[in-house]
């Protein structure tokens, strides 16, 4: 039995609040060379990073807005604040050093409890900066680095420079360029060869200034034979104007290593969530993406794995929940670029009201990647007659020895199931929520307990008053 399911009962949503943390510096609206210089100055960056940012800004300006996917016309990039620096505390190592107001926010989000529950280290991002950061002594002793990305850049410059923007270069897409120009906050993780990090590394963050675009940047390097599970969760407060979240996540999984990146995002419904997540997977290594998307106005997110050497494997698990006014355009990409590589994409989406959930995925088997195997399964659940789902599977196969399977299902909530559950005392919307939870169970069971609890609770809230 899932203890997580049971614990979600009777809890109310408590994440829609705005805290009064006074920022130290707020950049003017819109992005310009001047704003980028200010960001770089406030972060005390090396010269090469400023140059990188300015180059990325030029690329960003040249690239057109993508038009192949969801409608982005409501997004005014000139009307956003690109940098906010919160109170003057950086990388506090203990709870006591964190400013009172921020502490209160975390208490409301349950962070201290989470930490007491033997987490391997909590990096919580408050607006743009890491304000609370702690790595367990054991991890430090093992040589594991888990710090704010800014600290990673300064303290481990050579290592950082070797990989930064190598997995996702600014040229990749317009929003990767934007992130590269304006990035702020995120994690830098390095796991030395052979080190197995047993407990997940967690970063919990929130965006907290109205109209504030968050440009988180995370770089994870899992060295040969090492193992790590990185978890990132977000809940965002509600705002009345459009907001943007454009993250870039870069992961390098070296020979024989294993890694998993889990994220559950629940952005407020005015948020454009446009994220580039990519992993390079080397020989005999394994990488797993677990991706949950709730909330936001538009999400475009396709975690991708590049299987670069023989024996590399990857699995992409994705959940999306779209309500009225929301378009979740999610899925995954698997690029098989070496012989004997394999991967799976499992996508489950739920559309409610006039919500629209699209599966968009790419499977590519390059020439010479002999005996590659890929399996794609996408299941859509429609709650209401006006709910919408679409599937955009792109398959490019340049190898005749490849085995690629694709399976898609669309289902509706069945009246007989609702009646059966109701006849046992569950209210109609509770019954529907339970059916939805059952639908995503194959992915939810892969989540750590706290996240499964949160996901289930969010789904229950999303389903409240949804039927009848």
């Amino acid at each position: 039995m899932s203890e997580a399911d049971l614990r979600t009962l009777g809890e109310e949503y408590k994440y829609h609040f705005v805290d009064e943390v006074k920022p130290v510096f707020v950049a003017e609206r819109g992005l310009s060379r001047r704003v980028i210089e200010a960001i770089s100055y406030h972060k005390g960056e090396p010269e090469w990073m400023l140059k990188f940012r300015l180059r990325a800004f030029e690329i960003f300006q040249k690239k057109p807005m993508p038009t192949w996917g969801p409608d982005l016309s409501g997004l005014d990039l000139d009307d956003l604040v690109y940098y906010v620096k919160p109170a003057e505390v950086r990388d506090a190592k203990s709870w006591e050093e964190v400013p009172e107001e921020i502490r209160r926010t975390y208490e409301r989000l349950g962070i201290p409890e989470a930490e007491r529950k033997v987490l391997a280290g909590v990096g919580a991002q408050y607006d743009s900066e890491m304000v609370y950061h702690r790595v367990r002594e054991e991890l430090e002793r093992q040589g594991v680095i888990f710090v704010a990305i800014e600290e990673g850049m300064k303290k481990y410059e050579d290592l950082f420079k070797e990989y930064f923007a190598k997995v996702v270069p600014p040229e990749d897409n317009k929003f990767a360029a934007l992130n590269s120009a304006a990035w702020s906050g995120g994690s830098f993780v390095y796991v030395p060869p052979g080190v197995k990090v047993e407990l997940p590394l967690q970063a919990y963050f929130r965006v907290n200034t109205p109209e504030f675009g968050q440009f988180e940047r995370t770089l994870i390097i899992v060295d040969e034979g090492a193992e790590v599970h990185y978890i990132e969760g977000c809940t965002a407060p509600m705002y009345s104007t459009e907001s943007l979240h454009t993250g870039v996540i870069e992961i390098v999984v070296k020979r024989g290593a294993r890694s998993r990146y889990t994220t559950i995002q629940n952005w407020s419904t005015n948020m454009y969530n446009l994220v580039t997540q990519r992993a390079l997977v080397y020989g005999e290594a394994y990488h797993e993406w677990v991706d949950g998307n709730l909330g936001s106005k538009v999400t475009m997110k396709y975690p991708s794995s590049y299987l670069l050497e023989p024996g590399a494997r990857s699995e992409i698990l994705s959940i999306a929940f779209a309500k009225t006014g929301q378009h979740q355009d999610t899925g995954g990409k698997l690029i098989l670029a070496a012989p004997h590589t394999s991967g799976t994409i499992v996508s489950k989406s739920i559309s409610k009201g006039e919500g629209r959930a699209s599966y968009r995925g790419l499977v590519k088997v390059t020439e010479g990647a002999r005996h590659g195997k890929v399996n794609v399964e996408c299941d859509a659940l429609l709650i209401d007659p006006e709910s919408r789902t679409d599937t955009y599977p792109y398959i490019e196969i340049e190898e005749e020895t490849a085995h690629v399977g694709h399976e898609a299902t669309v289902s509706k909530i069945n009246d007989e199931q609702i009646f059966y559950l109701q006849s046992r005392g569950l209210k109609e919307d509770e019954a529907a929520a339970l059916i939805v939870r059952g639908f995503i169970e194959p992915i939810a069971k892969e989540l750590p307990l706290e996240y499964a609890v949160e996901l289930n609770r969010l789904i229950e809230l999303e389903m409240e008053g949804s039927v009848g």
Partner: protein
Amino acid sequence: MNQLEIRDLWASIDGEMILKGVNLVVPKGEVHALMGPNGAGKSTLGKILAGDPEYTVEKGEILLDGENILELSPDERARKGLFLAFQYPVEVPGVTIANFLRLALQARLGREVGVAEFWAKVKKALELLDWDESYLSRYLNEGFSGGEKKRNEILQLLVLEPTYAVLDETDSGLDIDALKVVARGVNAMRGPNFGALVITHYQRLLNYIVPDRVHVMMDGRVVAEGGPELALELEAKGYEWLKEKVKEGA
């Protein structure tokens, strides 16, 4: 007043009248059997008692301890202590029996139920049904055999402890061992605070669940009532015999 009473109940589906004035009383503390040939409306009656929205009630009343429950939703009826063991229990993928059952118990009792209390209850029920604990982590009815589904209905009956239960052909498709297990479950519920209406096509089940009274339905109405001996008579003479008798009476 302490009874489940059906008064002149008329109901239809897709414009076709299935129940044509059903009158039936099950006092609390008694177990009654509802028999009848196929198509008599027995299962329809069960579903309507539980509040299946597929059917339209045209007329009549269903009184649960004196309260008319016709306007109540299926879940409100359940929380008032009415239970239907389905003839064809539905599969709900991804939802474990344990999770579902605890939610149902909390709904039934109207309060949080701690893990310890829940397990104590479930364990007792499992023992009675000779069922393995591992079933609890299986998804609700998914991939279950007919017998497993029926056993699962009785598990729910035992855990939820309703005041009135309707068992809709719980015996159909069961071998004799499974039948005995199901009967053991129902008999364990018997007592002054429990009433049941056991719907069955055959007399076989009634060897193990001996009813206080037997009702016979035909063509949407209850046409005969009697003690347990009526079931035996039907078994010996068949429904045709009763049909003739009803015609003569009419």
